[in-house]
Symmetry: C2
Subunit: 329 residues, 2 copies
DNA sequence: CATATTGCGTGAACTGTTTCACGTGAATCT
DNA sequence: AGATTCACGTGAAACAGTTCACGCAATATG
């Protein structure tokens, strides 16, 4: 280093290169500058080991090349994968990602937003649970899986279409009386449309169906209880079940087997998410696959480039069906 | 907002409160200040909706309250969990976390370090694979699972002890000829000590053992081939296997079963990591459990407070054994 | 040949904090 | 009562960039 071990500044580079401060700035911002000057600056910078100080830059230019991601946690593989893809997509665009984990606590979510408003990021991608998250109007925000407001882009899978697809699949596989089961947060969100899609398909096609919704606070036991009540002499009232998530489907399957109902022989099961077991890369169950990578890339694109005709503020990305052993294909 | 929608600054707060700039600064830095002044400032700040600008602060104070985490990816649940705990620990200390994902590419790792050197963070926690990562001497760095240099703290599980523990467990469960199997990166790391611990225990206790190491590029098939070669008429040459990771153990188990060797009846299996299946919260196999949360918290603590007598620069955190169905308990 | 236009390097001004030397008034000491 | 601390509020300077009005020279235009 040059003097006193302190990191070199643009001023040092300017002196070393024998040019003005503004010229150095231009070089580092890809603003056209005479070729000879450009070379002088670049060589001086390399000689000094100069790196721009992002804080000074952020202060003046109000641009940080940082995006915040707000997530409930990383111990759910869906969230982890989402974070992975978002981080990679941001890196591709030369952005960094600061990650905030909220454990789905609305208080923590609000705290994150406030922290980010301290000029910490150019924008936010959030997967939040607070019912009334107030997002600063001039802080670009893209929400995943939850509609927050008309001016806030919201990206999700085509939950409605996925629900329809699940119903259609069950019916086409021979189910006469399908059931929709969900358990999750009480806060309304896009994922609720999975059930709506299922119900709509059944109604439009005159299928006899049932739908039962549970809240997190009721616990999975209430689902088991429901299943027990609808099981008579080893025979379930339903011959197909669409569960709102893969992991939930897994629990349902385990419970059914424990009370003597075979999957997929007695009842066929379809989940939602498209998660794969880390150990084998197989699906947990037959499932509606969310395009996680596409969700991530779309969220990043819209955050950085804004919504457009091609990328409207409200996008439902196409899902697909994948058999996973819990259906009779 | 006050004027022209621009965010209020300390100057605005000072004017609103009728105090000097420095006083406002002190209030926001918890530097003692007369009670009446403190109240005046706090009320003015609230009225204006003032938030400190972290970039100005970072510029001046050379303190960013940001730590970077460098990880290969998040699709491995071990890494995801580690990131989760590190993020939570940092939040507890009022730090933010910027996450960089490298996909284990040394080139990407170096790029991350360089990016962070642009004053983006006060320190780095890295789980890297580059053999020759050059870390700036005055950028605090804590490495996980890889020894980088004498001046760079390195946190890991007690891999050696865990290896011994696995060997001891297998022996105490009746194994007469245990085998150690590993597959992984060629870059040396702390995790290599798992095998060393295993071997040491066997040698010290006069146990007949074997140890076989594979590299990632050889592929899991080479492990299968090895197992096939050591299996005669449905009987394996070994009655216990210690695998370097849980997921690896899972594959070994599956393959053994596919060639007619029963786990745990014919051969007992112990993995390393302590991962749980996301769907059931059960271990994948009998395993040596890494204290992930403690690793995370220790890494954060050392990064923020520096190494000390209580927290030396090289720490191996105690592991524990947990049965997971692949041993005859 | 004179004037207008263009291109481009220059450096002062500015961004919003923290820090520190300074000054003021109150409290303590002799 | 006068001198000496002490406590603490003050505001200018500094941090390291970006931006922009300016000026100079070279080229284009009439």
């Amino acid at each position: 280093m040059n003097k006193a071990g302190k990191a070199p500044t643009m001023k040092d580079v300017a002196r070393e290169a024998g040019v003005a401060l503004g010229t150095v700035s231009k070089v580092f911002n890809s603003i056209p500058v005479g070729e000879s000057y450009k070379i002088k600056v670049e060589e001086a910078a390399k000689r000094l080991g100069y790196r721009v100080n992002s804080y000074a830059r952020g202060l003046r230019a109000d641009k940080t090349y940082t995006v915040a991601l707000i997530l409930p946690s990383l111990d759910n593989p869906f969230f982890a994968l989402l974070a992975d893809h978002i981080c990679v997509a941001l890196t591709k665009h030369n952005y960094r990602m600061v990650l905030a984990i909220t454990k789905a606590d609305p208080h923590a979510e609000a705290r994150c937003i406030r922290m980010i408003e301290q000029n910490m990021a150019d924008g936010v991608i959030g997967l939040t649970y607070a019912a009334d998250l107030d997002v600063n109007e001039n802080l670009p925000y893209v929400s995943i899986d939850r509609f927050i407001g008309p001016n806030i882009p919201c990206i999700s899978s085509d939950n409605f279409g996925g629900g329809q697809m699940a119903a259609e699949k069950l019916v086409s596989l021979g189910c006469k009386k399908p059931l929709f089961l969900r358990i999750g947060s009480d806060v309304p969100g896009e994922t609720d449309k999975r059930g709506a899609g299922f119900v709509t398909y059944c109604q439009m096609n005159g299928i006899e169906y049932a739908a039962q919704r549970f809240s997190d606070w009721q616990g999975i036991e209430s689902v088991y209880k429901f299943l027990d009540e609808h099981c008579h002499r080893g025979k379930l009232d339903y011959d197909g079940i669409f569960c709102s998530t893969d992991l939930f489907a897994y629990h349902v399957k385990k419970h059914l087997e424990s009370i003597g109902v075979c999957v997929p022989e007695d009842v066929q099961l379809i989940g939602f998410d498209g998660l794969k077991r880390p150990e084998t890369d197989e699906f947990y169950c037959s499932t509606i696959v969310q395009p996680i990578q596409q969700i991530a890339e779309t969220a990043v694109y819209i955050l950085l480039h804004g919504a457009s005709e091609q990328f409207p503020g409200f996008m439902s990305l196409p899902v697909s069906y994948a058999p996973g052993g819990t259906t009779r294909e």
